[in-house]
Symmetry: C2
Subunit: 230 residues, 2 copies
Amino acid sequence: MRSDTPQIPRLVEVRKNVLKQNDVIARALRERFREAGVLAASLVSSPGSGKTAFLEKILTLLYPRYRVAALVGDLATENDAARLARSRAPVKQIITGTVCHLEAAMIHSALEDWNLNNLDLLFIENVGNLVCPSSYDLGEDLRFVLLSVTEGEDKPLKYPTIFNSADVAIITKSDLAAAVEFDETAAKRNIQAVRPGMQVFKLSAKTGEGLTEFLGFLESRRARPRAAGA
Amino acid sequence: MRSDTPQIPRLVEVRKNVLKQNDVIARALRERFREAGVLAASLVSSPGSGKTAFLEKILTLLYPRYRVAALVGDLATENDAARLARSRAPVKQIITGTVCHLEAAMIHSALEDWNLNNLDLLFIENVGNLVCPSSYDLGEDLRFVLLSVTEGEDKPLKYPTIFNSADVAIITKSDLAAAVEFDETAAKRNIQAVRPGMQVFKLSAKTGEGLTEFLGFLESRRARPRAAGA
């Protein structure tokens, strides 16, 4: 397919350098999160899978009990930060322009004036994209890939790389499952085909279905022993 | 944001070369389509917006009256080609691997063993992505950007480039509009904010709502005078 585009190898080489540098910054971020005792979790999905609605709900539920904050990436607009701020948690928008993913350096810059010691949980909502974010480590402890019931059960098979880069899958908009004749068995089978053993949550930010279970999971991850002194 | 990533300017320069070469191939494709009297239309959208369901429906409706065919791009799987083939129209899958968009060279290769003189309409379904496909001209006469009612009304504001690269917007899954409390006025206002004067169709591949109007539009575009001898 690429036989007519001889520049590609050079492009790949340049991209490798960018990725390598990203990994260095991501490692430093991960170390900072660990030292400050912050659980950092990122969200990736297609545009419109319900990342922001889900995150607004989670932040609202966690806010009274934990020191939570969020970074949110978009090519344009501060709409998502405005939505998330309704949870009362500190939120910062990262505008990526034409870049279809967040990079570790963007997280680093966004966190410059935040004291991580004042945080328990940090959520990072990536740009809505099932391809570009796969390769960029953001230093997070957990990566969630979201898949809404309206998107089609075969998305894991069509975008295996992003599912492989994630730790946990979340099926969103479960309240619409019946209306779209969502085949949960097929969706879960496809997730397991791409990433055997992957934990899957099914929930609805609208009705609250499945949120208690998900919050329990988050709290169990928070409770894991951290480095001495944290 | 990009101050920590000094390689970016070089990456941009390399990408410019790739794009320039893409435009040369796209121009040649457009000329071939014109000479053969083929109306070529591409579809871009987020993953899960219903491109394949829509296209299967359109191909099925057009097949008895027109010589239609489709190319469909995905990172992995031939699922979409199998679905579209149920329309009985000739279909070819383009597997892009890790590339998040179709390029003109891929279209050129895929068409190598097809005689364009035997076609009236060619549909090209791009990889599900609201960013990457924006910059790649595929030689098509028309580019449709699809937006499902389940995705959120602000997608045009968040992905202005892809809406600007398209000719016509299609709001899909209209049968779910009530269930998701879709705000059609807001969605249309956001489309017009990004691309003033853009024509918008609203339809459902499931119920058939809006399909007659859309087919009428396609036929009117087909009927436009073509080059002498076509």
